[in-house]
Subunit: 330 residues, 2 copies
């Protein structure tokens, strides 16, 4: 018989279909290997084509060349021009598309990806995330900053050159408010951080841990909504990604590379998204929240049931997936 599990952080119910659970190896979808060149003349993110991207907002470079760049998105979903203008018309509410949308070009090489990079190169990506987060949150009217990565077509990208994105929104989304409400309720009742308690519980049980280091722990959530969903939690209690220090930047890079490598080698380079879940900038410093990074391999397709109910069916067991990934090198 299957079981339902409740995720106290996301406030979502998941049906873990244990009866028809697939084995971890069943999720390997061997794709046709596309051999990419290290440099592609027509790629706007490749070195030499810097004038094809919109304005650069930040770069990390050594003496000779850039290592990571952030630029405005050519087709930004939101724009820093203008301000927050709201209009209400009867039932409907509209807001001007104020905000920010940047692209972080992760590496000069067209054909690399985090598992193939040096640790120090991944640290430069995280450093760029932090610099952009800290700079953009200064802007009046920005309420939340979402850093995310789309890897592969099933994860919503068609651009090959390795890149992440940052979108700053002029509102706190109802999803974010709902997660905050969960954390506040737990904090009010127990006096503890829901995330610190989750981490303590997982470290005690051990069965869903994938890897750990001095400052971070990677594990599969008890009620993972889809196969191989993984979380990286900082051990130190901090509400905002902006609070990460330089030691933690270097250590997060190692952890991120490690778990993405385990997916890369263990599941043959699956498509995935990851996102950093930080407190809204207007709530910064609150004690009840704790930022983390969530990785969602796109190896199953949410369908009508998920859309109709907001619940999920997961055909893998988080405990088995964690056991499988623990065995894979990183």
């Amino acid at each position: 018989m299957s079981e339902l599990r409740f995720n106290p952080i996301s406030k979502e119910w998941v049906i873990i279909a244990t009866d028809r659970a697939k084995r971890p190896r069943d999720f390997i979808k061997t794709k046709e290997k596309k051999i990419l060149p290290e440099y592609k003349k027509e790629c706007p993110f490749c070195p030499g084509n810097e004038n094809q991207t919109p304005e650069e907002t930040f770069r990390i470079s050594d003496n000779t060349a850039w290592k990571v760049r952030s630029v405005f998105n050519l087709y930004g979903a939101l724009s820093p021009q203008g301000g927050r203008v709201r209009t209400n018309d009867g039932l409907y509410r509209t807001m001007s598309g104020f905000g920010n949308h940047e692209v972080i070009i992760e590496h000069p090489k067209h054909n690399t990806t985090i598992p193939l990079m040096q640790d120090a190169e991944v640290a430069d990506i995280i450093r760029t995330y932090k610099q952009r987060y800290s700079a953009i949150q200064q802007n009046r009217g920005i309420e939340a900053i979402i850093i995310f990565k789309n890897h592969g077509p099933n994860a919503g990208t068609s651009l090959e050159h390795p890149h992440s994105q940052l979108i700053a929104t002029p509102i706190v989304s109802p999803q974010s408010r709902s997660r905050i409400e969960q954390a506040v309720n737990y904090f009010d009742v127990t006096g503890d951080c829901l995330f610190c308690q989750t981490l303590a519980e997982e470290l005690k049980l051990k069965k869903r841990i994938v890897s750990e280091s001095e400052n971070f722990v990677s594990f599969m959530p008890y009620a993972g909504a889809s196969p191989f969903q993984a979380w990286i939690f900082p051990r130190r209690h901090m509400a905002s990604f902006d609070q990460i220090n330089e030691t933690e930047v270097i250590d997060l890079a190692k952890n991120l590379k490690c778990i993405l490598s385990k997916l890369y080698y263990g599941l043959d380079n699956p498509d995935y998204n990851y996102t950093i879940r930080s407190i809204p900038v207007t709530e910064e410093g609150k004690e009840y929240f704790h930022w983390y990074l969530s990785i969602i391999p796109r190896i199953s397709q949410p369908a009508g049931f998920e859309l109709g109910s907001g619940m999920f069916i997961n055909t893998s067991l988080p405990e088995e997936s964690a056991e499988f990934l623990r065995q894979v090198k990183c």
Copy 2:
């Protein structure tokens, strides 16, 4: 500049990327046409293979053969055996996989789909939905019933034979509770039904209406979360799908066939999901809710931003999509 729109029914913000909005024709993805046979010997849903499906729960037939059948799902996500058993272990809550999961085999022919069926055949599908909904809601411990359809691989199905599904859950999902809360708040403040008011507004504005009949109206929501998302609202105020009468069954069939035909001919048979959003069975009869059917073509891919924020980016304008579909035959 793009704009943000708020959906008062789903409580979701959508970025309508008007700057980079695609034209309706840009969403046509011509696929390789797969010629399917009318009958496939190895298909468990084809006539003659009835003994390959689990127990039948209902059928509509004429003198010679069945027209629609419902059967238990061979790999049911939830099962009517046992009951609702909850266990709490520290932070985590689990429930036994009690519920129901049925498949509605829509037609004897392997290679048909709603746009190609007769109106009377589609009415038999809706009649089956209603019969199963009404029967299953009698079971103690069932709290919500989700009827849905997955059409095509991007919508999460690999089975070719036309079918829908029904999952009955032992809980009301937090997503459903959140929508109810929106409806209750509106009702408490205004004394009106949020859905009736939305319908009145759309009928007044006309620009997002796709088609209408005596009992139903098909339109594109003001803050549609993805391209060509469409809603079919009953004009009569009723909270539960269970309240639909025979005249409305026949008329809903026509409306569903009409809008699916417009997608089929206008966008070259896109993959899609649809789901019936009804009040939870334990809330039946409440005045503030109003059931409807939601159709979500799977022609764009939610990515890291959507996962990380719970917001959506829609690269189409609902008004333009509605205008486009109004011109397509049905």
